[in-house]
């Protein structure tokens, strides 16, 4: 027995030694599927929820998803997930999944066949194609967005297609476009591993991007020093980990950013060399502006003294100095993070510009560990909405509707007759629902989103929706399907092939792993089927210049693949066909997405992706604009803003002033209202509320008050409180010192609960450049009921 044991240990030690030895070999990223014991098969996929883009391994057994784990091979999350990600598989199996098309007949949604539903939609589109709109989503897969954009822009010849991403990161887009001439962050998550200081600009990643948050703060457990400075209007779980909490008055962020720049310039502690090499200065409130000199900019900054900043932002001079000192420290690596706090802002574009200013003046940009990084809320706001260009003003690959040359390029790539693409910019999201409200638009197709819950000032934007021809593709009944004329049951996540593009430019691909329930079908198929029906009914726009249907693909034998037939669609990989067509569009603006085949083998690749001529391997780009990482940088420049507005390889520092918000608390409505998400629920809760574990942890919405305000109003946790604005009201339970604590004079309400719609109360005022509404500040009254 003794010998046996010793021999066993020897064997075990040998096995261990060989494992260590082999561990030095490069890891095989192609191993994306693995079959374990008991017929359980694991496949790679990106998580369904936020813009972090964690890799998950989906466990499939007997045709059903039975488990989800973090993917150790994925460099985004390295095996870790958050509470939502682990339960992504459960979200597929709510008992009330939509499984059959429904058509409103005699006021009631009645089951119908797919043929009838597709024909009903196509006939309505044919009746008035110019007043039919498409409202999509940052949760669209890349190909879903591509198909919808092509159907609308090339097919119907109108640009009324816009996504819910307009409500979520449009200001980040216009911010980057105005600052360095091209969309999407230059840095990447690797910078989070290197930063000495992380500054949160109105951001709560502990709940909204938990895996990235762990990536930052867990460095402390490894003995690294990471300073976190939380600039916010309420104390959150993120604040608990922060070294400094700097509370500011809503909209005060504009003054704070300028105030930091003022201190840097005044003290001479800015990076003069970096600024001279890489920056131009510009003044004005719009996207064009006028040139200004550095001296003029320095003079302009003089308004933003610590005293002025204290007056409008409520930040003490010492706090402002602390921020300036961090940026003035030459050896310090700083990452700024933001999400909805800066984007859902009536001056969202400006505040985005201003945070880049701070990093530019400090020379803390486009360096490993130093960047200003806009986090995205949705899994493919970047990959689909921004890169495919599913906006009223956009065309695929960073092109613009208003640019004749861009239209011409798209017409060539889509084989359209010259002049087919409409030069008139389509409605942005808020304007689209305004137009539907007024009847200027007669119909709208909504996919993968829930506008009757998520639009601001709901009554003003959705109360007439039921009178319009509303098509809703979704997976569960929502408050939007309640208003629909036609409801189409959709496939969800791993029930279809798909691709998402995350916050750090990483495109991730997954395969269909299980069947959708009942008669539910892919959104890609739905759009192609309606397009085909319009083609058959004779709409000229659905033909290319050769008279072929817009979505014509041929197999190896030259035979047309009839994608619009469901049985054919299921047998081919439409994602591969569509993505390969779309990929051509991504070259002009140097997005340069990887080919589909390379994405299949990888855990996502960050664009631009170029092929190594010697080896044929595809190489991703962790950081843009940096020589040695970004293949498009001109050699010798070090940092190259190759899309700079003035075509001189420089970015712009914008003089954007402080401006008061459109609605501020007054005597009648004395409180600020801020809305947002919680850890457990995703957006309007359609999926996560159907996960019993998540629902039991966060069953209903609440209103958070500052404890002092609550004491003054005699409100305690659990009391019913009426929140009322000029637009509407809602009653919620109070939660004091709970998940977060708002500043005095402010309240917070999450928007996931369909039974207590806080967006009845919110304001539709939006940034005039990005058209993104401000869900973070409006004036409300609070009363115990």
């Amino acid at each position: 027995m003794q010998t046996n044991r010793r021999e066993f240990l020897r064997q075990a030690a040998l096995a261990f030694a060989s494992s260590v030895l082999a561990g030095a070999l490069p890891r095989n990223l192609g191993a994306a599927t693995a079959e374990g014991a008991d017929g359980l098969v694991w496949h790679k996929a990106p998580c369904r929820f936020c813009g972090t883009g964690c890799g998950v391994m989906v466990g499939v057994k007997d045709g059903r998803v039975v488990a989800v784990q973090g993917d150790l091979e994925n460099p985004v999350n390295r095996g870790l997930l958050c509470a939502k990600g682990y339960h992504a598989g459960v979200a597929l199996y709510g008992k009330d999944r939509l499984t059959t098309p429904l058509i409103r007949k005699g006021g009631k949604l009645t089951p119908a066949s797919w043929d009838e539903a597709i024909e009903t939609i196509a006939k309505e589109v044919m009746r008035s194609p110019a007043t039919f709109a498409f409202y999509g989503s940052g949760q669209w897969t890349i190909c879903e967005g591509y198909v919808a954009a092509k159907f609308m822009k090339a097919g119907l010849g109108n640009n009324h297609v816009d996504p819910n991403a307009r409500l979520c990161m449009a200001s980040a887009v216009t911010g980057m476009n105005t600052t360095f001439g091209v969309d999407e962050p230059s840095g990447c998550y690797d910078d989070f591993d290197l930063a000495d200081t992380v500054i949160l600009w109105g951001n709560n990643p502990a709940e909204m991007h938990p895996v990235l948050w762990s990536r930052i703060v867990d460095r402390r457990g490894k003995g690294q020093k990471v300073e976190v400075i939380d600039l916010g209007t309420r104390r959150t779980r993120s604040t608990e980990e922060a070294d400094h909490y700097i509370e500011f008055t809503p909209q005060g962020d504009l003054a704070i950013a300028n105030g930091i720049c003022h201190l840097l310039v005044k003290s001479g502690k800015y990076d003069q060399d970096w600024v001279q090499k890489h920056c131009n200065f510009r003044k004005g409130g719009d996207t064009e502006g006028e040139p200004m000199s550095f001296a003029e900019y320095a003079k302009w900054l003089e308004t933003y003294t610590p005293e002025f900043v204290q007056k409008v932002a409520g930040v003490r001079p010492a706090q402002l100095q602390l921020l300036a000192d961090r940026f003035a420290d030459p050896g310090r690596k700083i990452v700024s993070l933001w999400c909805m706090g800066m984007n859902q802002h009536t001056r969202g574009t400006w505040i985005n510009n201003l945070v880049y200013n701070v990093h530019f003046l400090a020379g803390k940009f486009a360096k490993p560990g130093s960047t200003a990084f806009s986090l995205t809320g949705q899994p493919s706001a970047c990959g689909t909405c921004r890169e495919v260009g599913t906006f009223g003003h956009g065309l695929p690959g960073g092109r613009l509707v208003a640019n004749e040359e861009h239209r011409k390029q798209c017409e060539d790539l889509w084989k359209l007759p010259t002049g087919r693409l409409n030069a008139k910019i389509g409605h942005h999201a808020v304007a689209m629902f305004d137009a539907l409200q007024k009847g200027e638009l007669t119909g709208c197709w909504v996919q993968v989103t829930n506008p009757a819950q998520s639009m601001p000032n709901l009554h003003g934007h959705t109360s007439k929706l039921k009178e319009r021809f509303l098509v809703v593709s979704d997976v569960y009944p929502t408050v939007t399907t309640d208003l629909a004329t036609v409801v189409l049951p959709s496939a969800l996540w791993v029930e279809k092939n798909g691709m998402f593009g995350n916050s750090e430019r990483r495109t991730q691909q997954w395969f269909k792993l299980v069947k959708p329930p009942g008669d539910a079908r892919d959104d890609v198929w739905q759009t192609v089927a309606v397009a085909r029906k319009c083609f058959e009914l004779g709409h000229p726009g659905l033909k290319d210049k050769n008279g072929d249907f817009l979505f014509t693909f041929k197999d190896a034998a030259g035979k047309v693949i009839e994608l619009w037939k469901w049985d054919v669609f299921q047998q081919v990989n439409a994602d591969q066909l569509l993505f390969t067509e779309y990929r051509e569009f991504t070259m002009m603006k140097k997005y340069a997405l990887a080919p589909y085949e390379a994405l299949v083998k990888s855990r996502g690749m960050r664009w631009p992706v170029v092929q190594d001529k010697a080896t044929g391997a595809w190489r991703e780009t962790p950081r843009r604009f940096i020589e040695g990482e970004d293949p498009f940088v001109e050699p010798g420049r070090g940092v190259d803003f190759y899309w700079g507005k003035l075509k001189d390889h420089k970015a712009l520092v914008w003089a954007r002033p402080y401006e008061a918000p459109p609605e501020v608390p007054d005597k009648e409505y004395p409180f600020w209202l801020c809305t947002g998400r919680v850890l457990e629920h995703w957006h309007t809760g359609t999926m996560t509320r159907r996960v019993p574990q998540l629902h039991r942890a966060m069953p209903k919405a609440y209103v958070e008050l500052n404890p002092e305000d609550a004491a003054r109003l005699n409100i305690t946790t659990g009391d019913s409180v009426k929140i009322k604005s000029r637009r509407g009201e809602v009653v919620l339970s109070a939660w004091i010192n709970g998940r977060s604590t708002p500043a005095r004079g402010a309240v917070f309400v999450p928007f996931f609960a369909e039974e207590s719609l806080i967006n009845r109360v919110t304001l539709e005022a939006h940034c005039p450049i990005s058209k993104e509404p401000d869900y973070k500040k409006c004036a409300v009254s609070i009363a115990k009921v």
């Binding site: 082999a22 070999l25 994306a32 199996y93 999944r97 608990e240 299949v600 942890a697 069953p699």
Partner: protein, 207 residues
């Protein structure tokens, strides 16, 4: 059954791993659907009969899902205090404690995965048909006296006593908690560690 069969077992495990990962080289060519595509059961057909909550899975929705916090604690934002009680302990005396140490000490944001304030008796928002992966069952043994293999993945379960120590469930408690080097005898089962492929599986047959 003796040490020869044991080494055979190790080899067999490795070969199984090889087969698994060579199949994984091409996770479905781009145009072909993935393997599980064509043979699928209907939507509503359950995989296991045990309802959620009836087994050791407790409040978890499937094996591998992070368990919700089973108790209330001071405040919703106080997750950083979890380790005051649940810190990793290595000394044997400490394991007599009834508080489970964390199995993955490198992570600090407990509430990110272990949701708090769970109301166990609350009816679901909508009913679910999800049936999750069940508990792993017993590990394999080379012979009656051989130590069983670890039947589940080990990522995030590096500290075995978190579950198998005195604070864990009786049925899976170690009969010898005073021995601290668990993996000296109990080896991980390659077929259960799907996402941490054991490196020899990648050597292309050169074991």
């Amino acid at each position: 059954m003796n040490l020869r069969s044991l080494s055979l077992l190790l080899a067999a495990l490795a070969v199984a791993g090889l087969a698994r990962f060579s199949a994984a080289e091409n996770p479905g060519t781009a145009s072909a659907p993935p393997p599980a595509y064509n043979e699928q059961r209907s939507f509503a057909q359950p995989v296991r009969e045990t309802p959620i909550g009836a087994s050791r899975l407790g409040e978890r929705s499937f094996l591998g899902a992070p368990p919700p916090m089973p108790h209330t604690f001071a405040g919703d934002r106080d997750g950083r205090y979890c380790l005051e009680c649940h810190a990793r302990v290595t000394r044997i005396e400490k394991r007599q404690s009834a508080i489970a140490p964390v199995p993955h000490a490198e992570f600090s944001q407990c509430q990110q995965c272990h949701i708090s304030g769970v109301n166990k008796i609350l009816a679901p928002f909508r009913e679910t048909l999800f049936l999750g992966l069940d508990q792993p069952g017993k590990g394999t043994r080379a012979h009656a006296y051989a130590p069983p293999t670890i039947p589940h993945k080990t990522f995030m379960r590096e500290n075995c006593v978190a579950c198998h120590g005195p604070s864990g469930k009786q049925r899976i408690a170690s009969p010898h908690p005073y021995r601290s080097q668990c993996q000296q005898c109990h080896v991980p089962d390659a077929s259960k560690n799907y996402d941490r492929p054991l490196p020899w599986a990648k050597l292309g047959g050169e074991l």
